[in-house]
Symmetry: D2
Subunit: 347 residues, 4 copies
């Protein structure tokens, strides 16, 4: 028996999403995002975020992130991000491609989080050399973070305030935004548009959809044309966009996204508790969403693998591994994992 | 009653494709095209084309075309295409974006087709100015063409031979490739790899899929890394690629793609026959696939619209309109269209 | 004896320019265009054009043109130009490189000139397809034209008015602007800023400098930062910019540029008169600047070559050749050319 | 009296270079680097480096560096450099622009130098994530370094060997290469082509020229077309290239470049000796070329400034300042600087 805790990217789609696809598959529909589902997105997300929101449906988070950053910058701009950010480490240079050579500037921060002071220092350190240097242009945050932690609304607000003082726009990579909100229990707008965020990649693929992300522009729609141009130019304007938009509508309908995320988070917490009781293994970060980073011995991890548990040995650190819990993780799977953990005796 | 002959892009997905999606939605699967469905593509398409074929699954034809052209060229290359080509008119500059400023050179050709002599003249006319000019780099053909006609294998071979003599690589935009093969009745390889084509965008979205295209590299896989890098950099490497690959596998399984295309073509032929019998309207081009271009009067088109028929008034020519038939067009819909046509009395 | 009428690009620098270089070579000076010569440019050109003018000194016309077009457009914009324009035919894709994939749209026009009606038709023909098409963005004109003709101020004004109505910005490639003004006899601003031109490449290299062009931004300096960023990013911010700026200051000082251009134009007119008297050869275009295009027989051209005359056989047309006269062309050289022409007896 | 030790970029051109310009200004010459001076470069530099060398003359070091890196990489490549490198800090994103979004990876290293072990660790740390990561592509070194130190031939060879083992090509930014060779006393090829360097920016502007750099390709000329295409596309193919090439020929003729560099180095050493005798100030790095970094107090620096000495307060470190000596620095200027230094009494 193999149990998969490698990534929520490997999870199947939720039944509600599959059903929405089937329902959208009736008859003809306008192509290129002129269909009824796509046209309903602005209203649906504006209600969800309790603010005027422009929605650009798209298939991948990398595309959403890259288009957002290209919307907010010029090619000679610096974009600040956490050193662990997906945009910096895992997108194969997509932000640089869409942004025509913009530069990402990775910053350090405990627990996967940036602090306002770090940002201000970095901006100040990058200035003063005119056209010879890149110019500070934007900040991108990840919520929940790559460490499985969650920014509180006041933390986001402080970062946005600092960014705004420096003339930077703020983007949120919300690949696992549902997991964050399920934990925070706040309104989605409270840690985004209300805090000063300008654009957001609202992820759905990891948490129950097949391939669907909503690139959100908060407030006025001045950036809409730019975003739509970039989506088309990058080949991301699907002819049959209704199938993406139908996923998104079902995903946020009646709280499905939060129920799915809450389920994943619950499994992660359960595993975190098992780790807390283990004599050797420990959680590397506070477990606040659906990812658990475990610090342990290579022998310990190997024993778990032998027991059929699949997870990610962290590159470059043999004593670290990542376990991800998805909307589709069943309680008995987590129980089996916890049991396997407990059964590995300390050296 | 409204009947939609606007575009096959507006058709729903075929039931077999929806079923394949459901079947792929079981349990976890490796992400980022490492899944079993994606891994099965090379073999499946190699069998279909009876030649070694590398498959890059992707969501849109624009992305497939653009990646192909970027694989075959340097930024200082000219890419020759028909003046009516989708890459030139309808992709919002995606080829130029992926190709970092390559230039498309549109060529004239009757019936939507290029001729070898035209290509040779164009290449010769573009040469001889060293670094001051773009250098001829590639040729892209559309099969079936934007005019609803079909290149015969010998026509493709002649173009590839001429291109090869000039040092150009050849790409085929096969957004409606199924419609072409359903008409030609030849092996898919006969008018592609055997004729000298190097890369191909094998379309499936228009003919029964939701969002699935197969970017094909024929022969050795030297361009695979380049194509995969470009797919990732452009945000087209879906985390859950299984859903695209499962569509593609079902699409070519047991001849589904040809049955779907043949159905669309049959409806187009039926309408073409009705036009042939009409005292005024006439087909602009030979009807060889699933598109019918009709030359008629604005009043005639208006009368059809009043009768509930939806189609595309061709931009810039009030006496021309395009009718597209899809895998989902029902015989009774075509019959209604033909009846409406016949009922419009000549002026 | 060989006499060179191939191109004004092959001419040496004028003595006054060499002297200015020597004078600028005293002691140290601030680098990267912070020197006194560079700082004096805005005022000097504002006086010359009788309007607020921002000057970006740069080494080549290709760079000036490309930066200007990139300042005025987004990557998804069309830039309209004459089919014979240098930006389209002779810059190796630099506009597309700087413009990140913008597209040049060549238009026809007799005598190397565009007409407002042609522009309006082209803009209208390119519109209406949303993000699927490029969006009309800018117009670039060449003054004097590639055909050796000159736009009158009212022609420029009509083109700018039409462009403005369509939302396009206008750039002038003034590689041979001095030759145009020497002919027009008008104020430099009359056919540029006063007519509605936004940016201009003010050429100096062909007409007496070594390597110096002034990229001009008329009116408010909103585009200055963009232009300066692009200059730096493309490696065109010389550390010792004083040597470029000193050329430019000397070039426009006390009318030198117009005297040099008038000299070149006079030689061209003299040759044009000789052609007018020849029984066979004729001028292809009206000779209004320093270029003469001659329509004649290959045998005639060969006879001139045998007589030691060097000129450009026009690519693709064996009955056409171009003769260019520069500030350094001596009257006896032109006389020798005219004599050689006269001596070739008709067949 | 103001004495300028801010930068060798602020120095005038050497008399021999001005004379070469004048000599090149005789009569007409082929344009676009087809002239006799430009054609003589390959042989002249092949002799200087005692190896087959292709020369691309160009006006700026930023352009030379950026074209070199774009020649050696794909857009999805990492380029490793020292954290203090000009390409990373001072070129406004030119490498990213020419390289279409390549990424620079800054590495630490004492004394402005990289070590092979650091490179190997960095390459290993960047690998293993397939298309999701950038792929290691090239290494660029600065000789003499940004810290005013000099790599020995064996250090370069060790770095090239490590780079080669990892599949990386090596470029040298030789903006102050003359200063390095004047110190090393070795053949120019010994620390470049013989050590495994593939391309080099051979700087001349800082050390006596007006605006001239030679982009060198060692060994086979496979990269020549690529470099020439990029030079043209970036607007760096001067129409009157003779004036750049003539500078370069004069610069390396009969050892001028080394005499000029040796003069600058001698002044720097003299100032270093003065610092060594000062009770407070000290040299931050070993003084091996023409730059001296001084660690001292802000009050000390202010006192020097009050005495008329101009130099660069290092951004971000109030106790550090840079003094640069050029070919044009006169012994009495250095003496005045040393005297001013000595006269500032310790607190």
């Amino acid at each position: 028996m193999e149990l998969n805790f490698r990534s929520d990217n490997e999870s199947p789609a939720a039944p509600e999403i599959m059903q929405a696809l089937s329902q959208a598959n009736e008859g003809t529909a306008w192509s290129y995002a002129e269909d009824d589902w796509s046209r309903a997105l602005d209203r649906a997300f504006s209600e969800l975020f309790e603010a005027t929101t422009t929605v650009i449906p798209i298939s991948t988070g990398t595309a959403a992130n890259s288009i957002a950053l290209a919307c907010l910058t010029e090619p000679w701009n610096l974009v600040f991000c956490h050193r662990g950010a997906h945009v910096f480490n895992d997108e194969g240079g997509a932000p640089e491609f869409f942004g025509h050579g913009l530069r990402l500037m990775p910053l350090d921060g405990d627990d996967g989080k940036l602090r306002a002071g770090t940002l201000v220092d970095a901006v100040n350190g990058s200035e003063g050399h005119g056209v010879h240097s890149y110019a500070a242009g934007a900040l991108t945050l990840t919520q929940s973070t790559e460490a499985g932690t969650v920014y509180r609304p006041d933390e986001i607000a402080a970062l946005c305030a600092a960014a705004g003082d420096q003339g930077l726009s703020v983007h949120v990579d919300g690949a696992r935004f549902g997991n964050a909100i399920a934990t925070l229990g706040c309104a989605p707008g409270a840690c985004t548009v209300d805090a000063g965020v300008r654009m957001m990649s609202f992820g759905a693929s990891k948490n129950g959809c097949l391939a669907a992300e909503a690139l959100l522009i908060f407030g006025d729609g001045a950036l809409r044309e730019r975003a739509e141009r970039l989506r088309k130019r990058s080949g991301h304007l699907l002819s049959k966009m209704r199938y993406v938009s139908a996923q998104l509508l079902a995903y946020i309908d009646n709280g499905l996204w939060l129920r799915l995320a809450a389920g994943a988070n619950a499994q992660a917490r359960r595993f975190a508790e098992a780790i807390a009781q283990h004599p050797q293994a420990r959680s590397e970060y506070s477990v606040e969403a659906n990812e658990v980073f475990v610090r342990w011995t290579p022998a310990g991890f190997s024993a778990l693998e032998t027991a059929g548990m699949q997870f990610l040995r962290w590159p470059g650190d043999e004593n670290l591994a990542r376990f991800v819990f998805s909307h589709a993780t069943r309680a008995e799977e987590t129980a089996a994992l916890c049991e396997a953990l407990a059964s590995v005796a300390p050296a």
